[in-house]
Structures are given as structure tokens and as C-alpha cells.
């Protein structure tokens, strides 16, 4: 009881003034190559201003190679981690997996786990927006949330026409947690 009282005392008086800000979901690239901040929450996107190219995201130590018509996921030691199906058109590495498109859908394949399929025709590009979202470019711009258990496809706002920016290099998602390995998401 004494311990509980001490804890209660220390915590109840120690809730600091909160920091409140507009949530940043990530970055999307428009057809002209310019980057836009994407603000809001899932299903409620607002485009922020055009920004310089955001810092590269590293999702994995693996990398993707195209060998002939096939797409391979290659480990740092050169070993093959995965070979994508023959109809895979484009791919991007995500945390503990790979996201690829076929003519009819987008597939989120977790290594040593399940696949999740999302209907999406005519996908031309997949780009990491943040550790939690991937931009899916088709006849409209989509955002795929890839967090475990929260996977869902959304529509992104169409960016206004802006002056083209220099081409951006391939971006990859980061591995691991951004702050602490001990975390719980809801």
C-alpha cells in the first residue's frame, strides 16, 4: 500500500503539459515528382505544402532486384529471400515483408507470415510514404496502411499541379521501432 501511495503521488502530480500538434502521416509524390506532406489520420488526409525531398526511409537491409521478368528480394549476404510471382509488376520493401503489385491487385506479403490482397487495377508505382503507409499510384493516388492488423486502402487527395521537382531516389522503409523496441500500438 505504501508503494502504491508513493506511485500514485509521484505520477498524479507529474503529468506534464501536453504537446499537441497536427499529425504527420508521411509524404506523397505527385506525378510531376514533387513531394507533399500528408497530414491527418487514416481516412482523413490533408495535403500540406510542397516540401524538399524527405529523408530516405530504410525498411530493410534486404534489397530488390529484377532479374529478367522476375523480381527477387535479396538478403545482404546475397541470398534469395523471396521471389515474387511472375505477374508482379512493381515492388517495395516494407518492414518484415514486401509489397508488390500485379495487374489486378496489390499484395502485402509478410515474410514467414500471411499475404493480404487489395484490389487495385493498373498500379504503376509503389512508394513508401512513412513506416506505416505506402503510396499506390494507379488511376488515382492511393495510400495503403501497412501496420499489422490495421491494413487498409485509402484514397489520397489529388495534389494541385505544381512545378516539377528533381527525381527522387528509391526510398525504403525503416526497420525496427523509431523510439523503443518496447511499444504497444492500438
Amino acid at each position: 500500500m505504501k508503494l502504491i501511495s508513493i506511485l500514485l503521488l509521484s505520477l498524479s502530480f507529474a503529468v506534464a503539459q501536453p504537446a499537441i500538434e497536427t499529425p504527420l502521416l508521411g509524404y506523397m509524390q505527385d506525378a510531376e515528382g514533387s513531394w507533399h506532406t500528408v497530414l491527418g489520420t487514416a481516412g482523413n488526409f490533408v495535403l500540406g505544402p510542397v516540401v524538399p525531398e524527405p529523408p530516405a526511409l530504410a525498411a530493410s537491409s534486404n534489397h530488390i532486384e529484377r532479374r529478367g521478368e522476375a523480381i527477387y528480394v535479396i538478403a545482404p549476404d546475397g541470398g534469395t529471400v523471396d521471389i515474387l510471382p511472375p505477374d508482379a509488376k512493381t515492388a517495395v520493401l516494407v518492414e518484415n515483408g514486401v509489397l508488390y503489385s500485379t495487374p489486378q491487385e496489390v499484395v502485402l506479403r509478410r515474410f514467414r507470415s500471411r499475404e493480404i490482397h487489395f484490389p487495385a487495377e493498373g498500379v504503376t508505382a509503389l512508394k513508401a510514404m512513412s513506416p506505416e503507409y505506402v503510396q499506390v499510384s494507379a488511376d488515382r493516388q492511393l495510400a495503403l496502411r501497412i501496420e499489422d492488423g490495421r491494413e487498409a486502402m485509402f484514397v489520397l487527395p489529388k495534389p494541385a499541379d505544381v512545378a516539377p521537382a528533381p527525381p527522387a531516389p528509391v526510398r525504403r522503409l525503416p526497420t525496427g521501432a523509431p523510439q523503443s523496441p518496447r511499444r504497444q500500438r492500438q
Binding site: 508503494l3 502504491i4 508513493i6 506511485l7 500514485l8 503521488l9 509521484s10 505520477l11 498524479s12 507529474a14 503529468v15 506534464a16 503539459q17 501536453p18 504537446a19 499537441i20 500538434e21 497536427t22 499529425p23 504527420l24 497530414l39 491527418g40 489520420t41 487514416a42 481516412g43 482523413n44 488526409f45 490533408v46 495535403l47 488511376d139 488515382r140 485509402f154 484514397v155 489520397l156 487527395p157 489529388k158 495534389p159 494541385a160 523510439q179 523503443s180 518496447r182 511499444r183 504497444q184 500500438r185 492500438q186
Partner: protein
């Protein structure tokens, strides 16, 4: 005695003087003077000419009409058979019809009592006019375009064929009458050879819901055109926003169709306006059609189709934002006959929507980061509980009220209610190693939401 004889001799003259004899063609009336010749308008072979002959009693006493006829090949006078007593100011009308079978000048004598005039008609070669559906011939002999809808074009094909033994010069093909036009008319420079044809179209776009009369003129020959314009049936567009309950934070697929095929090809705009329920929220920029990132989306109707294209696609996506209020969707630019152009989506107040929570323990603090939105703009009241590794609550609920902080945030960053709040719990006293998880309650005017246990 001599006086009586003179009076008797002058009586027919007096009677003739009080009778007015005239010829009426359309709206033109021509007095006919005894002993004179008159040329009626020329007609084509086989074309019927119809005019009226009128006798009017302008005198002060009734006069007997004892003679009233027209004598000549091709002429027929339809009138009451004499004798006929014509009262003062009374008219006696006869219909004179003429049809010529050869290209030449025909003559006839018209006799009314003792008034005699000569009537001449020139008959020329012409081409035979035929037409096809949807036009028909009505009971009056007019070319009937049916009962078309206002502003909906109806076209009939026409053909002129020279069935004579000589070429015919077609010099004029025109229409008169509101909404009628001649289309696809070929060059008329050369004469129409024997057995040759030319084709053209007469189109009517009704402008009014009433009888629409017109005239097609080929050379000197007139053909009556008629139609009855009517309003098209009212079509109520069906705009579907998906059937689930409206709420903030949604992306709803919008489709539009008509209950029956469109009578028109047309285009318009679907526009949304937003009326927030709270004064703190002047507007919400997230409430847009995502495909244009604006509050307008173009739509197009194709004649004969029920599906309506939105932004040239089968659907568009409406984002409902994060503010309670009313989203009004209006259709504009709709053609006549389509109505019902306003739809209201009510976004109700709701408890705080938690999109993501992360609880992390650092050496000196526990940090809770929560992302979400509050469509009532009243967030700030919170409650926290901490648990040990066995899930036993080891603190009393810790309340906090950051309503003013949130209010200031919303005032400083207007537009929607999304937020990311970072809450820090400094660990300065006590044995904090037993802390293993926490949960939190967030309240607003719509209620309270509680997180699951967040392990750190």
C-alpha cells in the same frame, strides 16, 4: 313609265355594287373586279392549290345569290348551292381547289351573279417529296414530327425525286418555324435529272410545350410541318454515398445514376458545402472529393445511359473530415427534366476517435503518444491508470484536464480536429520498476473512450 323602266334596268347594277367579290389566299385578300383576269400562285404538277372565294353583302338589303360557280379544267368550287339569300354584312365563302396534271397554264371563269372574272394558274414541273419515320402525315395532311420532348432533337429524312420526263431545277429548300432546321442539304446548283433524287434532313428541337408549326418550302411549294412539344418525364438522380452510417474520418464512395436512360448528353457539377456544428470549427479542409482535392467534381450524362460519370470515372471518393456538421451535396448544370439535386449528409458528434497510441517507457518518464480526432472540439478531459505485470492496477485513476490546451491548439491551427498529443509522466519518485502497462480515458461532449492496456 320611263322612270320605272330606268329603275328596273339599274337594279342589277345596284345589287352588284353592294356585293364584294374577293379571292383569299392565306392571309391575302384580293378584290375581284368583273371583266378582269387574275393569276393565282403557281403550283407543281399534282400539287393542290386551295384558295377561298368570298362574297360579302355590304349593302342595306338582302341580296339573292343566283349564280356562283367556277368553270375550267382542274378547278373545283365547294360552296352552298345557289340560290342563296345573302343577308346584310353576311359572307358567303367557297373553297376553290385546283390540281394540274400537266406543266402549262390553266384558266377558268369564275361567275358570281353577273360578275365574271378569269383565273389563271401556272403549273410547273416539280420533284416528288417523300419522308420517313419518325415523321408521319397527320389528318390535316401536315408532316407530323410527333410529340417530342422539349430540347430533344427529332430528325426526319426527306427525299426529292424527279418523276418527270424532264430535268427539274430545285432552287430552294428552306424551312420556317421555331426550332426547325434543314440539314445535310446537297448542292442545288445542277438540275435534278430524270429519276434522280436528293436527300436531306429536317430537324426539330422543340422550344416550347405547345403545337409547333412550320413550313417546308421546296421551290414555290409549301409543306406544312407540325409537332407538339412536351416536357420530358422528370428523372430523379440517384446519388449513392454508401449505405453505412455517416461519421467523421470516412472515405465514402459516391456513385450517381438515373432511374431511366438519359434523354440528353449533358454535363454539370456536384458541389459540396459544409456547415460545422461548432463555432470553433469555421470549416474543415479535409471535406473534399479526393479525386480533385476540392469541393467540386464534374459529372457527365450520356444520352441513352443511366450511369453518370463522375470526374470521368464510375465513382469518386468523398472524405467526411473530422468535424461534426452537415455536408450538403448539390448538383448543378442539370438539363431540364432532371431534378432533386440536393443531398444532406449529417455527421453526428462522436467520442474521440483514436487512430493510434504508442506508450513508451524511458529512463526518466513514461510517454504516451495518441493520434486521433475529436469532431466536437471539446477534448481535454483525461484519466490514466497504471498496472503491474500481472495486470493489477497499482495507482488510482489519475485525472487531467487539458481542455484549454486543446482549445488553444484548435484556435491556432484551424481546420479539422485531428491531433497528435504527447503526454509525459516523469518518474521521479518511488519504485517504478513495477509499472508494466497503462490505459487512458479521453472524454469529450459526446462521451468517453478508453484505450486498451498499453504495455511499455
Amino acid at each position: 313609265m320611263i322612270r320605272l323602266l330606268l329603275l328596273a334596268a339599274l337594279l342589277p347594277v345596284a345589287a352588284r355594287a353592294q356585293l364584294a367579290f374577293s379571292l383569299i389566299d392565306g392571309s391575302t385578300e384580293t378584290p375581284l373586279v368583273s371583266g378582269s383576269s387574275y393569276t393565282l400562285r403557281s403550283v407543281e404538277v399534282g400539287e393542290e392549290l386551295s384558295v377561298r372565294l368570298r362574297v360579302r353583302n355590304n349593302g342595306v338589303a338582302a341580296v339573292d345569290i343566283t349564280t356562283f360557280f367556277v368553270d375550267g379544267p382542274g378547278f373545283v368550287l365547294e360552296r352552298p348551292l345557289p340560290p342563296y339569300r345573302l343577308q346584310v354584312n353576311e359572307n358567303l365563302n367557297g373553297t376553290l381547289r385546283f390540281t394540274g396534271t400537266e406543266a402549262k397554264t390553266y384558266s377558268a371563269t369564275a361567275l358570281m351573279n353577273n360578275v365574271s372574272v378569269t383565273l389563271n394558274v401556272s403549273v410547273v414541273l416539280g420533284a416528288k417529296l417523300t419522308f420517313a419515320a419518325p415523321c408521319t402525315t397527320n389528318s390535316s395532311g401536315a408532316i407530323d414530327f410527333g410529340i417530342p420532348y422539349i430540347a430533344q432533337a427529332v430528325s426526319c429524312p426527306f427525299t426529292l425525286r424527279n418523276e418527270n420526263a424532264l430535268p427539274v431545277q430545285i432552287s430552294k429548300v428552306i424551312v420556317a418555324g421555331t426550332g426547325y432546321t434543314v440539314q445535310n442539304l446537297p448542292d442545288l446548283t445542277s438540275p435534278l435529272g430524270v429519276g434522280a433524287t436528293i436527300s436531306f434532313t429536317v430537324q426539330l428541337i422543340p422550344q416550347a410545350h405547345s403545337t409547333i408549326s412550320g413550313t417546308l418550302t421546296v421551290n414555290a411549294r409549301n409543306y406544312a410541318l407540325t409537332a407538339i412539344g412536351v416536357d420530358p418525364p422528370i428523372l430523379q438522380p440517384i446519388v449513392d454515398f454508401e449505405s453505412s452510417a455517416y461519421a467523421s474520418g470516412q472515405q465514402r464512395r459516391v456513385t450517381m445514376q438515373l432511374p431511366s436512360p438519359s434523354l440528353f448528353s449533358s454535363s454539370g457539377l456536384m458541389t459540396i458545402t459544409f456547415e460545422p456544428s461548432y463555432t470553433l470549427a469555421a470549416d474543415d479542409p479535409a471535406i473534399v472529393f479526393l479525386e480533385t482535392n476540392s469541393r467540386q467534381i464534374p459529372f457527365t450524362l450520356q444520352q441513352g445511359q443511366t450511369a453518370v460519370k463522375l470526374n470521368n470515372s464510375t465513382f469518386v471518393t468523398l472524405q467526411t473530415g473530422t468535424t461534426a456538421g452537415k455536408i450538403t451535396v448539390t448538383l448543378s448544370g442539370l438539363p431540364g427534366g432532371i431534378s432533386g439535386n440536393t443531398f444532406v449528409l449529417t455527421i453526428p458528434p462522436s467520442t474521440i476517435a483514436v487512430d493510434k497510441t504508442i506508450a513508451t517507457r524511458f529512463l526518466d518518464r513514461i510517454e504516451l503518444v495518441l493520434t486521433g480526432f475529436d469532431n466536437t472540439f471539446s477534448a481535454g478531459s483525461m484519466l490514466f491508470r497504471f498496472y503491474d505485470a500481472n495486470g493489477q492496477q497499482i495507482t488510482a485513476a489519475i485525472p487531467a484536464d487539458f481542455t484549454l490546451n486543446f482549445r488553444k491548439f484548435y484556435v491556432d491551427t484551424p481546420g479539422g480536429s485531428t491531433f497528435k498529443v504527447t503526454l509525459k509522466f516523469p518518474l521521479s519518485n518511488g519504485d517504478v520498476t513495477k509499472l508494466a502497462s497503462m490505459d487512458a480515458e479521453f472524454a469529450n461532449t459526446a462521451g468517453t473512450v478508453r484505450t486498451s492496456k498499453l504495455t511499455f
